[in-house]
Symmetry: C4
Subunit: 236 residues, 4 copies
């Protein structure tokens, strides 16, 4: 089985298989993709295939216009959302979508997740945005394509940078996350789930809990991501 | 040990063994059955046997009138409920009953589970019905038989189709689910538990959370189950 | 290592080792004992020994007056409570004490656990009693001995039978459970934890949730424990 | 690879590896250190290294003035907090920092954890303190160093002894725990997480739950830690 996409499929496969291990999906609820910018294609999980049955060769290669380039199976039903984001956000290398419990519960609440602590600020400086459900007209149209548009619109309206905030909740649906590669996108899904759970518990313990103050937001974000960052190892 | 029901017993056994693996039962709390429509019998877990001790040959074969056709052990105490449903709902192939934590908690609350998101709409378009507890007269009578009647009455009163909504909560008791086969019935129990958990969390985060709007309910259900469904692989 | 208590120690050891497997204890939080009525002694876990280090030969043999009969280690700090119960309740064969999360949380709330559903009624027909904290004088006295008295007093005041209700919460402390043998005592601790969790969730979903009605309480308890019981296998 | 710190690194490594096993960390969220008082150095986890990749030789040796004594990797970004505590609290042998779910949620609520039961009193007699966030000036300065100062100030203001209360919450951040060695510091993090979870659940079940009364606090603490302690084995 010769293919010029073996490495891309492997990276996509491994990132997908992280999801059940991390407790982020049951059955077929979720999908991860990995892009190859030079070839302008991305690898994505086939639709409706249980993770326990997934093999690297099942991964489907698709271009930014949703055309299957290689693969015998039908790609994820969310493929058009992935394609839309890859087309518009040139610097992302991977995308992850799950129905993880706490992130979905916030999405079903149609509420942004407030930044309550340093666990959140270690990853970005904003409340995690929750995009409002799209209009009935758009739903009836090219739904998954418009989900990509919905994400872009939400980031535009809230004046967010996709390079800083690598996660969003789609109202009444669930989370999408992304990053420099598929592995980082999955990492962000796991982090989002934990942030969502902690924020939920915080409001149960103290309904009047205050947002993290700006000085701490900046301090924690900068020590990990700023110019003088000193978190982690050199070159990591 | 010759038997014309070996395959049926095996399918029933394997579906039962999924329950502890999926975290849906402790000890003996639950049972799955699988029907053979041609022979008009179903296979069901023996009563009160811990899952860790269960073997395929322990599975009991019963007809629609609750008579044991094959097997040395006493069938599940809920056998009459299974028989009733198989008799009245010709298109189901498997039934599952558990005492899973979140589904039971909604049942104990005597509340339908509102449809809050696409995770729910991917499986059906209605609130998950909770049947009110039966009258004292019926409880004192043929209780497990009448539990089947209770389920049918609830679907009739709420104008639901058992082919679309493959799950119900029995008030103060717990969930029953079904499907084209035993494996699908178990799948539905796992999905119901997740939906129940997410709906609980949603109401904790936002007590005024709104039901999913109709356009999204239809979109998600149709893309997976409608005529032009494009979720999953061809023929799956 | 000759001993006339090898079998008793083994039964006690195995019941203790169930606790971490069932998620009911962390570190050293809990203890199980098993009685031999003929010899009028019981076997109990040594105090403060982590479960991962526990071996059958570490189990200590104690009589009903708290005297160590065999064993090199100090018995559980709760030994006097076990001894007291064995002395006063002739028909029990095992006792289990844990600090399991949900049972402790109800104990810290100083509230009985209401009987909300059939999962509860399958095991007994009463709210799970929570004994109020003992007086300062008794605490300063023979505390663990008086904990036994506290349990008896609570059952007496609430007119409960220890043969039916095999579990109690000690206010601000945690659960004690018992049964015909040590294994059943552990089973009851696991069941109590699940009942406690479901009752907590039920009240979160519906703060006005009603107790299970009497007809259902009796039906479920009787079908499992009554004269005409048909749950489980003959002779089990 | 010769080193005079092999044993210290090994102890630090093993304590760190307990964190993912105990469910207290995901990815790189947390760090444990172990001190050698004679050599006046401590061993600490490298910054940003996933636990699954951690090896004993990666552990970094640092002195009380934050200077790396041995090791190729950058030490934890929280190193200065550890150094500060080792310098000021002569009797501690290990320190642990995590972002465990329930402890962080209380920290994000900026609330002390009330002492509601004996599980808590078995470990100390006080509410678990939550230090208020530091001033913007201090955050902008030597943040991790000042986190140590923040901890000392909180203990001073609340008149607490670090030898009795071996845990604190940093407001909006998360828990630090310590003990006679690194293993005990990790033990305290696990215990704190359980206490935090039980206190949360207690307030959900009974918002008016009362603190444990003083006689029980003293009784449980003294039987485990007092002069006449009888919990555990001699010399343990």
């Amino acid at each position: 089985m010769k293919s010029e996409y073996l490495e891309l499929k492997r990276a996509c496969y491994e990132a997908n298989m992280e999801l059940p291990n991390l407790g982020l999906v049951v059955y077929t609820f979720g999908n991860v993709s990995a892009v190859n910018r030079e070839k302008a294609v991305f690898a994505i999980k086939p639709s409706g295939l249980p993770y326990k049955d997934l093999k690297p060769e099942d991964i489907v290669i698709v271009d930014y216009d949703n055309q299957v380039v290689e693969g015998k199976m039908r790609p994820s039903s969310d493929t058009k959302t992935h394609a839309f984001l890859y087309k518009h956000w040139q610097k992302i290398g991977g995308i992850c979508h799950t129905h993880s419990t706490y992130a979905v519960s916030w999405a079903q609440s149609q509420m942004d997740i407030p930044i309550f602590g340093t666990t959140h600020a270690d990853h970005n400086t904003k409340d995690i945005p929750c995009a409002p459900p799209m209009s009935d007209e758009l739903i009836a149209g090219d739904y998954e394509h418009m989900t990509g548009q919905q994400i872009l619109d939400c980031f535009s309206e809230k004046n967010l940078s996709y390079e800083e905030v690598e996660m969003i909740l789609i109202g009444n649906h669930g989370p999408f996350t992304w990053g420099k590669n598929a592995q980082k996108a999955v990492y962000n899904s796991r982090v989002l789930e934990e942030i969502a759970r902690m924020a939920y518990l915080t409001l149960q313990i103290n309904p009047n809990a205050a947002r993290l103050k700006e000085a701490l937001i900046q301090k924690h974000y900068e020590r990990k991501h700023g110019e003088g960052a000193y978190y982690g190892q050199e070159g990591c």
